[in-house]
Amino acid sequence: MLDVSNHTSLPPRPGVGYKPQHYNDIMRDPGPVAWLEIHAENYMGDGGRPISQLRHLAERFPVSVHGVGLSIGGEGTLDPDHLARLKHLVGWLNPASFSEHLAWSTHDSHFYNDLLPLPYNAATLARVAAHINQVQDTLGRRMLLENPSSYLAFAESSMSETDFLRELVQRTGCGLLLDVNNVFVSATNLKTSPQAYIDDFPLDAVGEIHLGGHDEDEDETGATLLIDSHGKPVVDPVWALLDYTLAKSGPKPLLIEWDTDVPEWPILCAETERAAMALAPA
C-alpha cells in the first residue's frame, strides 16, 4: 500500500494526542503542535473516515503510533492477530515512532481495556524482554516502552522500575517513552521521590515524553491516591518535574495527552503552548 508518510522521526517539539473532533482545527491552525499521536487500536478498522483522516494528517505531520492493546506485560503469548493488525498499520502508515506500555491488558483471551500492573523481577524481565523482541522483529523497527502509573506495589518485586526499564533497554535495544505525569502519580502513591526516579532513569534512551492530567483521591488510610485519568490540565508540580527532566535530558518530543472529557481545541492548544515554553525557556 501507498506510503503516505515521509516523516521519519518525531521532532523535539510539542505534539498532541489526536482526537477526531479536532481535525478541522488542527488542519486550519495547529499552533505550536509539530506532530500527532494516535492510539493504534482506533485505526485498525478496514476503512472509512478514521483511516481517511489519518492519511491526510500523515501527509502533513509526523505521526506517533501509540498502542494500548498489545499486553506486553502479559503472562501469555502476544495475540498474533493483534500483532498482525499492528504490522499492517505500521506498514502502510510508516509512522515516525511506535510505542507501547509496560503493562498488561489481555489475559486468557479477554481484553480488559486498562493498563494493569506487573511485578518487577527476573521472571517478568525475561518475559517482557521476549515480548519486546517479538514486537521489534515483527515490525522491523525499534519501539519505545512507557513507564506506568502505579497505585500499589507487588511484594514479589525484587527490582526498581528504573532498573527494570534500563535492563530492558540493554537486552532488547528498545527506547523508552517517559511519562512525567506517571512518574509524579507513582511517586506520590508509593511515597517515593519523583526527582530521584528521574535521576535514576536512563534518559539517553528516551525518545518521547508524555504529559497529562490526573485525578486526586485518597486511600482508606487517608494517604493521597492520584489516578492517571488524562482528563484535566497538567498540574504545576508535573510541569516543574518536566523542567527538572528537560534540564537533564535536553529537548525531547513532548506530548500532551487528554483522553477523557476532551476539551475544545483552544484549551488543548494552550497546553501545547506551555509545552513549547518548557522546551525553549526564555
Binding site: 487500536e41 482506533n42 485498525m44 478498522g45 478496514d46 476503512g47 472509512g48 473516515r49 478514521p50 483511516i51 481517511s52 494500548v68 492493546g69 498489545l70 499486553s71 502479559g74 503472562e75 501469555g76 495475540d79 492477530d81 493483534h82 493488525r85 498488561w104 491488558s105 489481555t106 489475559h107 486468557d108 483471551s109 479477554h110 481484553f111 480488559y112 481495556n113 486498562d114 494493569l116 511485578p119 497505585y151 500499589l152 506495589a153 507487588f154 511484594a155 514479589e156 502513591n189 508509593l190 511515597k191 517515593t192 486511600d219 482508606e220 488510610t221 494517604a223 491516591l225 489516578i227
Partner: protein, 245 residues
Amino acid sequence: MTVSQSDFTASMLDPAASVPSGLQNPDGAAASKRFNVYRNNVAVSLSDALETAFPVVRKLVGDQFFRAMAGVYLRKHPPKSPLMMFYGAAMPQFLSRFEPAKSVPYLPDIAKVELALRHAYHAADTKPLDANALAAVAPDALMRTRLKIAPAIQTITSPYPIHAIYRANTVADASKPIMQPEALVVTRAGFDPEIHLINAAAASCIDALAQGQSLGEAMAVADDTLDLGATLGVLLAQGAVTEIY
C-alpha cells in the same frame, strides 16, 4: 506471595472478592482501595464503550437502566479483542435473554441496527459502480448477472418497526412508530452510514446478492412483495454495488 494474572482479573471483575494478597500499599499493608482503582477503571471504561456503541438502546431504557445492564454485560462478555470500536457484538443476544429488558421486546433488534452502523462506519472503502453499467447489460443476460455488494451493506429484518423506532430516537420531527414488522438496509455512500426502509423481501434479495447469487436467483429467494427496481435503486443510489460480473 505471587499474584497471577488469573488471580488479578478474577478479583478485579468481582467487587465482592478479596484483594489478592501480595498487592501492597507503600507501608506494606494490603492495598484494598488502591486495587479498586483497577476495578473502577475497567468497569467504567467498558461501560463507556457500550454507551458510545449503543446510544439509541440507552435512550430507550434510560441512563440508570443502561449502566446497570452494562455492568452485567461487561462481566458476562468481557472484550475478546483490543478493538473497542467493535465491543458489544453479543449485545442483541444478551438483551434477548436479559429478563429486566423483556418489556422492551424490540431492544435486541435496535442493538443489531447500532452494531451494523458501527460495522459500516469502519468498513473498507469501495468505489461505486458507474450508474449506467447495469442499464448497459443486455436484457437476456440481466438475470444471470451478479452484483458485488460493498462490505458496509447489511440488512436487518424485524417483527418490530426498527426503522421508525431508530429514527424517532435520532431525528427531530420523525414520525411516530406504528407497531408493524420492518426491514432496513444499512449503507455508506460517503463516510456516514445511513439506514433505509425496505421490506423483508428486499432484505432477502440483497442478502442473496451479497452472497454472490445472480439477480435471477436473488429474485427467486424473495417472495412476490419484492420490488426489484426499487431495491436496485436504493443500492445503486447509495453506491452499494461495486462491480457487475
